[in-house]
């Protein structure tokens, strides 16, 4: 597996910075999709999983994005496709430095 393989956020280990490459909004409830977008969880965002639960499915999940910690469910994380972003680190703005250049 290469460092830039795409995978679901739900399968990521704790602590590594990842960049969101796609979100399958269609599988999410409309209100919840809107809430996720409002919190900046959208394509391009850089985030990391900070905590997760113990029981089946290791639900819920707490992610760090920008200066926020946001709790969400594994079901949401499954709809979020990410790639590794080890060198980018979580910028306070929740986005990568390279994006500013764009």
């Amino acid at each position: 597996m290469t460092a830039h393989a795409e995978m679901s956020l739900a399968d990521r280990p704790l602590g590594n910075a990842v960049r969101v490459v796609a979100v399958d909004w269609a599988v999410l409830d409309e209100g919840e999709a809107r809430r996720l977008r409002a919190l900046g969880i959208d394509s391009g965002a850089v985030l990391k999983i900070a905590h997760r639960g113990i029981f089946s499915g290791r639900d819920p999940i707490a992610i760090e994005i920008g200066r926020m910690t946001v709790a969400l469910r594994r079901a949401h994380a499954l709809a979020i496709t990410v790639v590794d972003a080890p060198d980018e680190g979580v910028h306070p703005s929740g986005h990568t430095a390279s994006e500013y250049a764009k």
């Binding site: 809430r35 409002a38 919190l39 905590h51 639900d59 469910r73 703005s93």
Partner: protein
């Protein structure tokens, strides 16, 4: 020339400090707490401009955008757009943003500013920015947004004068061409929010260490739940252990008052009304003030520090297994105070089915009005011994009663989610706020408010119901040799009800307390106290503490069955009324009423027969 007062509205992301600012500007005491979704309704208050001109200030629920994803967000949109019935469209807006999280808060701020209404931006929580080593340039922000930016610290009343002056100014100037582009989507706003934040940040240090360190422990998969459980355990231990000396002192005061009345006034009906109704009845409730205060002390501290949102996170797994989300946790926790604000708080729940389920189970959370009922029975029947180092048996039983309510609620939710409120499993998305040190003043004000509410209830509804009950117990007057309660109207009515509740172990006196308890839970205590006071033959017995009487008259299975009844029985009528309003009809309150009665009856019966069979 006089004109109608101006209307100013506070808008912004959840937890930005809108209500704190509202309180500072109007002198109101709206609830503020450190988690998103505290305010769920519009609230109006009066503020004054420097010119002396009064204005109406409106506090609104926090919102992430004008495209609402929950009922509380819809209120914000409707008020700002002028679609809310009975509310003038605001003349000006104050956008409140958290200075520590501009990248996020400026997204909605831009949407608000793009409306072109007179707007001032309050750059709030600057004290926390300073704590975390963040230095900002408000002028740069002002330039990129095109509206005045005022630095504030709502909880320390900093920047208020400047803010009101600026609001007065922009209100005079009136609407203008929007300073920001109107037709942009959230992605573009996010990009510009980032750029604006970057331009406004002069310097910053690495991210908050305190916050991270605490979450490592408190959200830890194993340690987190253990800490939460231990904390709740301590709360209920404290309710008994810490309150005891104060409760004893209060009981002493009530007994002394009763003695004084008896020695100083001639015997007669009026004196009986005071000793039997007021002092024995209402007094028996008031003595639980210390317990109420201790319970709320813990709740307020958990809310102010930001731990409450972590508790929601930790509880989410359990909630998920019955088809609810962690979002329901906060309304349910508010229901420990009282189901009414709890039911109101469900407005921040996105999914309607989820919300309805939460409303229906909210009454199963043990509200503070039930605390006196539990406490009086526990004190009378459960010995004050320890069952382990520092673990009191009484506190343990109280804890068990609260747990019974929670487990009952989860079971009911499980059934509801598979029957009447069936639907897609709902999710849980919640911002976890930064930790804050609780401010002693806020806690003190919160406790004062809860204490006041409790005493006001005692002085109004509990007093009224108890006196009415006393009248019904005192007339007609008994023939010599006959027991007064047997002869009275209330006694006769209770005999009828007693037939229904006899199978679950209740005696006539217990039956008698059930009906008035519908007005307010605590009345169960005052009506028992009044009943025994009326039934007693002499003044010494009248002044006797209720617990002593109960211990003499009831068996342990009876007491346990009474407790079980109160875990499940429908709450006061006001709860039913709020449920009707929030669900727009009688259907769901009636469902609620019926299932609660059924559960209470079954639980009390089962408890009684099991306890009897076990030879207790």
């Amino acid at each position: 020339m006089s004109r109608a007062p101006r209307t100013i509205a506070l808008v912004g992301n959840p937890n930005a400090g809108k209500s704190a600012l509202f309180n500072a500007l109007t002198g109101a005491r709206q609830k503020i707490a450190n988690y998103p979704g505290v305010t769920v309704e519009r609230k109006a208050g009066r503020m004054t401009f420097a010119s002396g001109e009064p204005a109406e200030l409106i506090d609104l629920p926090g919102s992430y955008s004008f495209e609402p994803s929950s009922p509380d967000e819809a209120v914000t949109r409707d008020v700002v757009m002028g679609h809310q019935e009975g509310q003038r469209r605001p003349d000006a807006l104050i956008v409140v943003v958290d200075a520590n999280n501009l990248e996020q808060h400026l997204v909605f701020a831009q949407e608000v500013i793009a409306l072109g209404m007179p707007t001032v931006l309050a750059l709030n929580m600057l004290d926390l920015a300073a704590r975390d080593g963040l230095v900002l340039d408000p002028k740069a922000l002002e330039e990129s947004l095109g509206v005045p930016v005022i630095e504030t610290v709502a909880v320390r009343r900093k920047g208020l004068t400047e803010l009101t002056a600026e609001v007065a100014k922009v209100t005079e100037e009136g609407a203008h061409e929007p300073t920001l582009p109107t037709h942009v989507d959230i992605v573009e706003r996010r990009v510009s929010a980032r750029a604006m934040a970057k331009g406004a940040i002069i310097s910053e240090t690495k991210q908050r260490r305190l916050h991270r360190g605490l979450d490592k422990v408190l959200l830890h998969p194993w340690i987190g739940p253990v800490v939460l459980f231990a904390l709740l355990f301590i709360v209920f231990q404290a309710v008994f252990a810490w309150a005891a000396p104060f409760a004893d002192a209060l009981e002493g005061v009530v007994a002394a008052l009763s003695d004084a009345v008896v020695t100083n006034f001639p015997a007669g009906l009026l004196r009986d009304a005071v000793t039997e109704g007021l002092l024995a009845g209402v007094g028996s409730v008031v003595v639980f003030l210390p317990q109420i205060i201790i319970l709320f002390f813990f709740i307020l501290v958990m809310e102010a520090t930001g731990y409450m949102a972590r508790a929601a996170y930790l509880m989410d797994r359990m909630m998920a297994s019955v088809g609810l989300s962690g979002r329901s946790f906060i309304p349910l926790l508010s229901s420990f105070a009282c189901a009414i604000p709890g039911i109101m708080a469900t407005r921040s729940i996105t999914d309607p089915k989820d919300r309805l389920t939460t409303i229906l189970i909210a009454p199963l959370m043990t509200c503070s009005a039930r605390l006196p009922v539990y406490a009086v029975i526990i004190a009378a029947f459960i010995p004050a011994q320890t069952v382990g180092p520092g673990i009191g048996l009484q506190g343990l039983v109280l804890f068990a009663l609260y747990v019974a309510g929670i487990v009952g609620a989860m079971l009911v939710a499980f059934v509801l989610r598979r029957s009447v409120t069936q639907g897609a499993a709902s999710g849980f998305i919640m911002e976890l706020p930064r930790y804050q040190w609780p401010r002693a003043r806020d806690i003190a004000i919160g406790l004062w408010q809860r204490g006041y509410i409790f005493l006001r209830r005692a002085g109004t509804i509990i007093f009224t119901v108890t006196i009415v009950l006393w009248l019904l117990l005192s007339f007609p007057q008994a023939e010599p040799g006959e027991n007064q309660v047997d002869a009275s109207i209330a006694g006769k009515l209770a005999n009828g009800l007693a037939v229904v509740v006899e199978p679950i172990g209740f005696n006539r006196d217990m039956a008698l307390s059930l009906i008035p308890a519908m007005a307010a839970r605590e009345v169960a205590v005052s009506s028992l106290a009044t009943t025994y006071a009326v039934a007693s033959d002499d003044e010494d017995e009248t002044a006797e503490a209720l617990g002593t009487r109960l211990a003499a008259d009831w068996t342990l299975p009876m007491a346990l069955s009474f407790l079980a009844w109160f875990v499940f029985a429908p709450q006061c009528l006001s709860t039913i009324a709020v449920a009707k309003r929030e669900t727009n009809g009688w259907k769901w309150p009636i469902v609620m009423l019926l299932y609660l009665f059924a559960l209470a009856y079954i639980a009390a019966g089962a408890t009684f027969w099991i306890a009897t069979a076990a030879g207790l």
